[in-house]
Point group: C2
Chain length 214, copies 2
């Protein structure tokens, strides 16, 4: 096994071979779905991260106030080791986007890990990946937006060992301490639940109505 980061080897840490992490962008993604996991996984020694999109260029988040660059096109990418599919209101359209579903399906046949965050899991389902029982243990179940950090620390531990994952956790000083305890339907007020339901139900038309200021 070749050791990419000599410092890591010298410290006697778990070593991994170079792995490719491909984060899929589509119009209307939720940025924290991506960046929570990216911040963990892109810092794993040996992981080479790339942002892929239907075409090379900017892709707008659900707020239409944030844009990320996709610099590898679906056409250009033949294989990956970790396929990372975020969620967001864009998923409503995404499940009817043949090019998006096709690249997910195609890359999944090459990946060691396929990660769906939040309703990104619906894209995996629409791409026909969730019927294969033999890979169900590789999936993160439907999880909250911010759970991409937790999920990716878990994955970092699997691919690079717990010591690397813990080091990254210290590196991002991840010791969450929410000022409110309202992160789950069980703990949230009925009003908050009603608001979120309303916002989620109207998400597709809301993002269509929002014009980017750039």
């Amino acid at each position: 096994m070749r050791c990419r980061t000599i410092d890591v080897c010298q410290l006697g840490m778990h070593r991994i071979e170079t792995m490719r992490l491909s984060i899929v962008l589509f119009d209307g993604f939720t940025a924290l779905d991506i960046v929570g996991g990216y911040e963990v996984l892109a810092n794993v020694p040996g992981i080479e991260t790339e942002f892929v999109a239907a075409e090379i260029g900017l892709v707008n988040a659900d707020t239409r106030r944030l844009a990320l660059l996709g610099y590898r096109s679906f056409m250009q990418i033949e294989a990956t080791d970790i396929l990372y599919v975020p969620g967001g209101p864009g998923v409503f359209k995404g499940v009817r986007d043949a090019a998006l579903l096709s690249v997910i399906s195609r890359l999944h046949t090459t990946s060691t890990w396929t990660v769906g965050i939040c309703n990104g899991v619906e894209l995996l389902g629409a791409a026909g990946l969730l019927q294969d029982k033999q890979v169900t243990t590789n999936w993160f179940a439907r999880a909250g937006v911010s759970a991409s950090i937790d999920a990716s620390l878990y994955l970092a531990g699997l691919v690079a060992g717990a010591e690397i994952a813990k080091t990254i956790q210290l590196g991002i000083e991840y010791y969450p301490d929410p000022p409110f305890g309202s992160g789950t339907p069980d703990s949230a007020s009925p009003t908050a639940q009603a608001m979120v339901r309303m916002f989620e139900q109207s998400a597709e038309e809301r993002i269509e109505a929002l014009k980017p200021p750039y």
Copy 2:
């Protein structure tokens, strides 16, 4: 007070006037410093979010594998309500960047809230803002990368009321549950601490050596 989002008004929630949130981009920022806070604050009804940079265009994160679009230039922006300054290895250069410090200093005179995340606080200090005792209660102390979510939920509560903040927390389903307890120096192993120190000390030269693949 004008009510921007009629649904919010109808539900009798705390209402806020439109506020401008200006997120400052500079070469070598840490993406999670930005997106954790952005995801909370950009979803507060009435907050209008913008990404500002020295010049309009893409700005590279510390990994050189993620690029965000800055679509308002320092020249174009005269005032803001919430000035949001992330951290990252780029801060090492940033504290010597006169244009960056100048825009921070200038916008701070107009802002109601000025937020420094992680070592972004050093930029605030270099811009001369931390000597003014009368605003020290408005600052978030040096905090971990991922603390931008916690800090921004707290700020959302201050500007829009606890009900809105709790609703957003439910919306992003933020109920963190790290798989490891290694988020602080106290809880991390000596090896993890040594690794992070080594990586942080070499951060400036590492990001200089990394070339974006786009």
